[in-house]
Amino acid sequence: MHTSDSEDFESADEGHGSPEKKERKKRLSSSNYSDNALETDQQPQEPKPSATAVKNIAKETDGWDDFDIDDNEPIAPPPTKAKVTDSKKEVEQKPTNVKADQKSQVPCWDEFDDWGQDDTVSTQRTEPPKPVQNKQSAQPDPNIKEVTDRLAAASTGASGGWGGWGWSVDSLLSTATAGISNITSQVSQGISTVLETGIGAPDPEELARSSVKANEAKAPVPAPISAEDGDKLQGRQGSSPEAGANAGDAAFPFGSLFSGVSKFVETTGTKVISGGLDTLETIGKKTMEVLQDGDPGLAKKRALLGLGAGDKPVLSQVLREAKAKADEDDRVREEKREAKEVHYENLFDDFEGLVHLEALEMLSKQISMRIEERMRSVDADKRQDIKETLQQVAELCEMPEEEEDDDEPPSEGVSKADAFHERLQTATQDLGLKLQFQPLVKQYTDILTYISGSPDTTVKGIYKRAVSGLAQATALSVEQYHKAAEMLLVKTRRSTADEADALTQMTVVLTKHISELATLFTEKLNGLPSDNTEQVNTYITNIFLEAGNSSTYIQNAFQLALPILQIGAV
């Protein structure tokens, strides 16, 4: 009912007469996703008095009747998502403090709308005076508390004029006030909606229809139930919104809109029970009518519900939408996969760099503890000696200042990879260990082959290869420190100074190797004709960034190996 009210309202406000049925029909069609989306976007942040406020509500309810469609249309989720977000946004825009889950109230309204149309037993009685009266009190103030106050004020005014309706407005009002104070925010939302829509501009026709509805519904109602019961039952309203809507509908024509509000609170529960099955049955029938109204948008529902199965174009549309969704999902997944593919840390982990680093760290801690133990077990003089020795070893392991940048140009007839291998071996010859540099050399060879002539000439492809190449080179380097540390620990004769020097040299070679790799890839990228220089520049920046990252990892690994060098000297 809220919906129908507000929609009629809107129409009335804008000067449309009763032939709004078609208009409403149109709104009911599936296309109103877009309507809503659009409306929401255009909607001003701050709801303005009267007309705008009313409009606001109309929009809000728009969101609701969509929900009905959403409910039955699981295969078209993008609009659904948009919808949900929209209605949430609307709630936030309204300062009503209503954080309710509106969904529960949603589904019924539009059915009512049409329902009303069918029962066009006209009644003129509720018509004339209200619009004026109500509009005055409708100064939009969505705060519930104030709404309640306003309700009180308005009803005093109203009771004079409408005393003849046979309902004690005042008593109803007090019920309403009491009710409002303790019902859930969800119901509050409903009330404020009723109130505002009702107050803003009641549509005579709608009122007439509503009253008929009410009379119908009134019949099976046995006795008024206590407000407390009503409140309790409000909870149930969430789960059976149709009944709740009906109750609200029924309450509407009772004397005044205000009493309608209060009755909405009170009678909802009653109707749920007493109206019960009859009401639900009627609703069900009407729902089916609406659903099968030949509306092209709703036809999808039938297909989904199995009611109009075999409806070919609809089925194909459903399938098309399902496919579109699947495609979208695939695209998102692919993007995520790609993002992961060029994620340096993930790649470093995949190449076992992280686990080698972790193991090296464990070893490093263990050895540090052993050194501390040894220091504790000796007297002060010896301890000072040990401290000095440790310090000396640490100094040996300090990275040299950027020395001879290009030591010796690769000699003739020696490939870059072999030269790299040679440098590594030269650096570590005093280490006294047999480190396996082949994986590093092989990786370098692969990269050189790739750079010198690979079929993959896309900017993105090169970028990916660059990040992965850097991550792998770093992982392999870290592994060298881990292995060196393990082997040093089982080495029988230690020569700490040589070892420290060798590892320092190795670090120099490896960090240089990393920048060499970065340069190779960025040169390749720069040499590529590209229409998107900005993208290329971003990639190049990233490659140098990751190269810096790599060097940090390598130097950290070297530092972790320090205690292993130190323990050889103490």
């Binding site: 996703y33 989306a37 659009l38 993008p78 998502k81 193991a359 464990m362 801690k365 292995k483």
Partner: protein, 214 residues
């Protein structure tokens, strides 16, 4: 690869019992008769699925040589599972189990799931340790027991996966505090960014559809 959990395993046992071969069979599904001596620790990883959840097993394959003992001990910490391996054709490897077990219990967390494995079950003719002996040892020390062959792959999958299942059950029972990485369990990368991206995509599509309609 995205995973729900990561379990850290260690493989321990005397040198030459086939620890690295078990790992290779499990991760690469192949057997390499001649294997370099493991230095310190080597790593392997494989994804498995338990209860519909992707679990990454990160396996630390330790050196069995006595010389590396003190090093490998520092790797026990933070393991959720251990495969304690002996060679059914070499009784001494079985006899050393007690030492290995003490070591493992001393240097790892008390909840670590330990699976006892009698490897080389394909070499029945050279068997020196009866299956019943292995079972009895396992029973006595509260271990799970299995005879495997890294060569034929018999029971290799089962050994790794059953251990994972046991760890998983312990997580479900709340025995393992999964937030404490010292237990050898890490929670996989969360999908928060994934959800956000999907939501944004959906909304974007909705907006586009709306534009078309109007």
């Amino acid at each position: 690869m995205a995973y729900a959990y990561l379990f850290k395993y260690i493989i321990i046992g005397d040198t030459g019992v086939g620890k690295s071969c078990l790992l290779l069979q499990f991760t690469d599904k192949r057997f390499q008769p001649v294997h370099d001596l493991t230095i310190g620790v080597e790593f392997g990883a494989r994804m498995i699925t338990i209860d519909g959840k992707q679990i990454k097993l990160q396996i630390w394959d330790t050196a069995g040589q006595e010389a590396f003992r003190s090093i490998t001990r520092s790797y026990y910490r933070g393991a959720a599972g251990a495969l304690l391996v002996y060679d059914i054709t070499r009784r001494d490897t079985f006899n050393h189990l007690t030492t290995w077990l003490e070591d493992a219990r001393q240097h790892s967390n008390s909840n670590m799931v330990i699976m006892l494995i009698g490897n080389k079950s394909d070499l029945e003719s050279r068997r020196e340790v009866k299956k019943e002996e292995g079972e009895a040892f396992a029973r006595e020390h509260g271990l799970v027991f299995m005879e495997t062959s890294a060569k034929t792959a018999a029971n290799v999958e089962e050994a790794f996966i059953n251990t994972a299942k046991e760890i998983y059950e312990k997580i479900q029972e709340g025995v393992f505090d999964i937030n404490n990485e010292a237990n050898g369990i890490k929670i996989g990368p969360q999908h928060s960014t994934a959800g956000g991206a999907a939501g944004a995509g959906g909304a974007g599509a909705g907006g586009a559809a709306g534009g078309g309609c109007c």
